[in-house]
């Protein structure tokens, strides 16, 4: 009797747990279906290569090229800036600070806290700095703020890979009389390259998808920016601003932008998972 109850309880929960996993997977497909269903029909060569005509909110003609190119400029710039600051810090933590485990763990803790700060706070911060100096919204401001936002993500990602370098490789490299920076850039970066690429891809995905930080700092325009000091359109804001328009063609632009952005993220996620799986198999211990 008691055994029967236990068995049925176990069976019940096993089913429920299985369903929970299924629901999660199902939700992903529902989301992807929903986005593509609305957006695929709006995708056309014209949509991808022309800018909105007659104003992005009301204009019936044109496409989302302003947002696509703006996002590419912004994300590449942000990732580049984040790499310049982030890679050396990650290497520093794992090679120069080998002895000082406590300090490294403190830095990691710090980075984890930074990682949790929502992008709108970065945006608000950026905005107040911009007001202080009288700067207008621009691509450059967006690049800097998004870079700051993704730096903790990038560093932690690279740090996770660097952590797995076997101590023996470091010792062998030191024994050859190499300096720390030589070991860092000539040996360790090469060893961890696939992992670093994965982190960069994921950071790029976060950068291109962010709306809250660029809202304050990059503005929005119909045009493709020609210099860093101009405001720029981005895919997330293109969706955000155009979705609520009463004009159907404008709404379609929002759906198209959503589809493009989703495809970019899908490609990045799948590709980076592929890289990390492939190289996990080939690694020597």
């Amino acid at each position: 009797m008691n055994l029967m109850r236990r068995k049925s309880e176990e069976l019940f929960f096993r089913v429920v747990m299985f369903l929970a996993t299924c629901i999660i997977a199902l939700v992903l497909f529902i989301i992807l279906y929903g986005i593509f269903h609305k957006g695929i029909s709006s995708l056309s060569w014209e949509m991808l290569t022309s800018t909105p005509k007659g104003g992005f909110y009301f204009g019936k003609e044109g496409g989302i090229a302003n947002a696509i190119i703006g996002s590419i400029y912004l994300s590449f710039g942000a990732v580049l800036l984040a790499l310049i600051i982030g890679v050396p810090v990650a290497l520093f933590m794992n090679i120069y600070l080998l002895k000082f485990k406590k300090i490294v763990n403190t830095i990691r803790f710090f980075l984890d806290i930074l990682w949790g700060i929502p992008s709108i706070v970065y945006g608000a911060f950026g905005f107040s700095v911009m007001i202080l100096f009288g700067w207008k919204t621009s691509l450059m401001a967006g690049i800097i703020i998004v870079a700051l936002f993704i730096i903790p993500i990038l560093i932690r990602g690279i740090d996770e890979v660097l952590k797995t370098v076997p101590m023996g490789l470091l010792e062998s490299s030191f024994s050859l009389g190499a300096t720390k920076s030589e070991i860092a850039f000539r040996v360790i970066v090469r060893q961890c390259f696939p992992g670093i690429v994965t982190s960069v891809l994921l950071s790029f995905g976060r950068a291109i998808g962010d709306a809250a930080a660029v809202l304050f700092t990059t503005g929005f325009t119909d045009r493709i920016p020609t210099s860093l000091s101009q405001p720029s359109a981005t895919l997330p804001l293109s969706i955000f601003f155009q979705l609520s328009s009463p004009v159907a063609e404008v709404k379609n632009r929002a759906y198209a932008a959503a589809t493009v952005l989703t495809i970019i993220i899908l490609v990045i996620s799948i590709f980076s998972r592929y890289i990390s799986d492939k190289y996990k198999r080939n690694r020597i211990g």
């Binding site: 810090v89 709108i120 998808g209 989703t262």
Partner: protein, 302 residues
């Protein structure tokens, strides 16, 4: 062997020094950044305290910027409702799924779920928002009609549903890690004492992992509280303390995002918004810190 003090050697040393300096510079930025953010938000917001106290602002219901009244209560309540409901939906699902994936499912299932979780985690906020508008708003409308209410669909519930999906990959990853770190010997000992797998899970594994589970919830709360764009797009943005899940709300991050444009035209509006950002910053960091410290303690105990 001679010690060649040649120019090449000096160049090597110089390179090494420059790179070390560059690394220290980057590290300085990383460390100064959160302090700078907190400080600047504080500086910009303290103007608002000339006329009222902190508790006055946080607990006041009146948000009338034109009259100089900046009560944050409706927004805080909106955030609390959405966050609480989202966590309520997400945590059980993640817990059940994490147990399934680590205890019962075959290896390939976990392997297949990895890209699913990756993609869910990578989908930008605004995509969740637009999907929320397309799919969740009508759903909430129909659900409310089922209960005899006629609503627009833009509601706390819509915000909570979208938000819960967004925090699932985050919490699920942490829980899977936590369950994986419970030592095998513990499980084996319990099983060899005659307990069934399910009993082992209930009595041993969950109990052992409990602090970790709490931390995962805490981190989920932190993540949910700060989420801006997706929630903003479906939650209605009506300034009122919500009294039911079908009612619209106005969470704190949405306040900042929707009004940044008018910040400078009304006196002290920018202070109020920066103060809101500061509150957001403090709440998020607080939950984050607590949860991570709890996880560290938990891992040390294992």
């Amino acid at each position: 062997m001679s010690f060649h003090f040649n120019s090449f050697y000096l160049r090597r040393k110089l390179k090494d020094k420059l790179i070390t300096w560059w690394m220290n510079f980057g590290l300085a930025i990383v460390i100064i950044l959160p302090i700078a953010i907190g400080f600047s938000l504080f500086m910009k917001s303290h103007l608002i305290f000339e006329n009222s106290s902190i508790t006055g602002i946080i607990f006041s219901k009146e948000w009338k910027p034109l009259s100089g009244k900046f009560g944050l209560l409706p927004f805080l309540m909106g955030s609390l409702w959405v966050t609480f409901l989202a966590v309520l939906i997400a945590v059980p699902v993640c817990l059940l799924s994490a147990i399934h994936l680590t205890q019962y499912a075959k290896k390939w299932v976990l392997h297949m779920m990895h890209p699913v979780i990756d993609i869910l985690a990578g989908i930008p906020s605004v995509i969740y928002g637009i999907w929320g508008v397309i799919a969740i708003i009508p759903f909430v409308q129909h659900l409310a009609a089922f209960f005899g209410k006629s609503v627009s669909g833009y509601s706390i519930l819509a915000g909570a549903i979208v938000l819960s999906i967004m925090i699932v990959p985050f919490i699920l990853n942490i829980l899977v890690e936590i369950f994986r770190t419970v030592p095998e010997e513990l499980t084996e000992a319990s099983l060899s004492l005659g307990a069934s797998h399910w009993q082992t899970i209930k009595k041993v594994i969950i109990r052992k992992a409990f602090p970790g589970i709490i931390s995962a919830v805490g981190l989920g709360v932190s993540r949910a509280f700060g989420e801006t764009i997706a929630v903003l797009m479906v939650v209605g943005n009506v300034i009122r303390i919500p009294h039911g899940i079908f009612q619209p709300g106005y969470p704190l991050p949405a306040l900042i995002a929707n009004n940044y444009g008018e910040m400078l035209s009304i006196p002290m509006y920018d202070s109020a918004l920066m103060f809101s950002a500061l509150v957001l910053f403090c709440v998020v960091v607080f939950f984050n810190l607590l949860s991570r410290m709890a996880i560290m303690r938990f891992e040390r105990k294992l």
